[in-house]
Symmetry: C2
Subunit: 363 residues, 2 copies
């Protein structure tokens, strides 16, 4: 089903190859292609495998001179919709662009996959096709969360791969999150916090106390600093670099923060619309407000990373535009360049051994 | 231990009596007394029982002419600190101002209690002294959450009374939250949402599906509209008026939103500090920004309400200043005026009967 827009084997020879699911995002393949255009202009070393409906993609790609020789289109007949159930997709999704995009990573044709489609389906297909890393029970989705830390971001996981997490899962999240902070943000010795409702040790759920002990035990060997329990207010704060929680709590926190930011944006616009004078003030304040908007623009940090699989998958926001797609591809490229996957695998394997020692010590 | 600043029996004769724990807040009793001063100037019908160290309180009250005849000081020797463990306080806290403030409600001397002390201790003492309402398993803390709804607020519970909630608890939270929305916000037929990670019914934890069925079953009899599952983004949104969740998730969401708002405030100030021109713009935008700040000022909606006890307790923020204390007292007065406690009790008792019917139907 490979088209002949470019010769695939030629494309793969040098640099990094990124597999992209062109379909399934809210803005369709045009936004995806526009995002790729932005990337190729700045980075000459990335090649793309573009999965989706061939005719549509050929038209979009042919219009862009800069994409010549940089994109291989791989035809797939079907598209996964946002409302499709993951369980259904896993059984009946073989002909979809998402499946095909993940298979390019599975087959070694690309080093990382990017999709802005249905998150649940993407995780389900990734689990089935890439399989979990040896020793990982529950994969996780990690995101970069805007924060008051010097880098401007913290790593937060799990934000929605699984609604539950056992103490052992939370330990693995900590280790994978530390790898991500090191390779994605360049923090040599990340500080890790375990999300809870109070910083005193007597508060919170009992499974969190068990996770606390496990993570604390691993901090020296895995070269991170465990700061203990943190609260919701620390997620955008500067106390830690990596925040660990289960996917239910993490997803609620993420959506709550997005909702809060959008309410504040709305109220801010209202405040400036109040009177003629405030309208004038808003025009004068325009560049400042724009600078502020740039800083918290979720499109500029777009990309959740699936951790704990035999392959790197970057989930872009469903409503991502060209700017958002560009950010997701950049993140995918960074992770690929740093051999992120191999580092995470080594970390998890090592941690498995350490964690078993905890029990050996106890016995 | 009652002082003679005012004659207690005289105070209780007319209007509403509110019992206040003057100690334990971050800003001490001076902020509490300043908050009371603001209230008495606007409302002639409230009397106060002020619990704390007599000498200190007498000095503060004597300075304020407007408090003459409005405040009865009740001496208590000890103060609960923010770091005190609830379990310790329940065993050894009898001589504290918090205990004494709650006992005034228990003894019928006041209709509602306000404290800005340690939340865990306040809930623990309230449970022991006031006891749970007949039929309630887990009391909850409800707050008013700034939202884009016409009233400007949604009701959210539980934000931290208990780290777990069973389906039956979530049903009770829904009913108590509906009562609160009706009496605190004046919404005749509140719309209720159950917090989950996805709005599709196949997502989320299994206990939430059970709670879904229970709440849906009660909506007609209890005169509310159940909108089904909602996500974190709906907490500050306009889709529902009441959001139901367990105290772990609710507390994380609350703290995350507070942290997000404070990060945005920080970034906004940074953006306006960037250049001389943006500094000038910020001066011109001053009133707009101030209007915005007023709107999201947490002090103006200060006060979590403990629901599910034989007595109403309002928890003010630990760092509340005079404005915050005033808001908490106003809320306490509104609830007392509306016979809120009796309405919640009736609602819970009635719901218990309906919920039992669910099982009878199934059998």
């Amino acid at each position: 089903m490979t088209s002949t827009v470019d010769n695939k084997s030629e494309v793969v020879q040098s640099g990094t190859t990124i597999s992209i699911d062109a379909m399934g995002g809210d803005l369709g393949p045009a936004a995806v292609v526009a995002g790729i255009v932005r990337v190729v202009q700045k980075n000459k070393k990335i090649h793309f495998l573009l999965h989706g409906q061939q005719k549509q993609l050929q038209e979009l790609v042919a219009k862009r001179q800069s994409l010549k020789g940089r994109v291989t289109i791989i035809d797939s007949l079907e598209v996964i919709k946002m409302e499709d159930k993951p369980s259904h997709v896993v059984r009946h999704g073989k002909a979809t662009s998402m499946w095909s995009a993940i298979d390019s990573v599975r087959d070694g044709d690309a080093s990382v996959c990017v999709s802005c489609g249905n998150t649940g389906a993407l995780m389900a297909i990734s689990m089935v096709r890439l399989r979990k890393l040896n020793g990982v029970n529950r994969p996780a989705i990690a995101i970069l969360w805007p924060s008051s830390n010097p880098m401007g971001f913290n790593v937060m996981l799990d934000v929605g791969a699984d609604v539950r997490a056992d103490p052992k899962d939370l330990l693995q999240y900590a280790l994978m999150g530390v790898s991500y902070a090191r390779n994605g943000l360049g923090i040599a010795k990340p500080r890790v916090g375990l999300l809870n409702v109070g910083t005193e040790e007597h508060k919170g759920r009992s499974e969190l106390k068990e996770a606390y002990a496990k993570i604390e035990h691993c901090q020296l060997d895995a070269n991170f600093v465990f700061e203990g329990f943190v609260e919701g207010g620390d997620i955008p704060g500067s106390k830690v670099d990596v925040i660990i929680t289960d996917g239910f709590t993490g997803n609620v926190a993420l959506k709550t923060a997005e909702g809060t930011a959008s309410l504040i944006g709305y109220l801010l616009r209202e405040a400036f619309r109040f009177s003629p004078l405030s309208k004038l003030a808003s025009i004068l304040a325009f560049t400042s407000l724009n600078r502020f908007k740039m800083r918290i623009d979720p499109r500029r940090v777009n990309g959740g990373v699936f951790l704990g699989l035999n392959g790197t998958v970057v989930k872009s926001h469903g409503s991502a535009d060209a700017t958002g797609i560009e950010a997701a591809i950049k993140l995918a490229f960074e992770l690929s360049k740093n051999d992120f996957l191999q580092k995470v695998a080594a970390r998890v394997a090592y941690a498995g051994a350490i964690d078993n020692d905890v029990y050996d010590d106890a016995n």
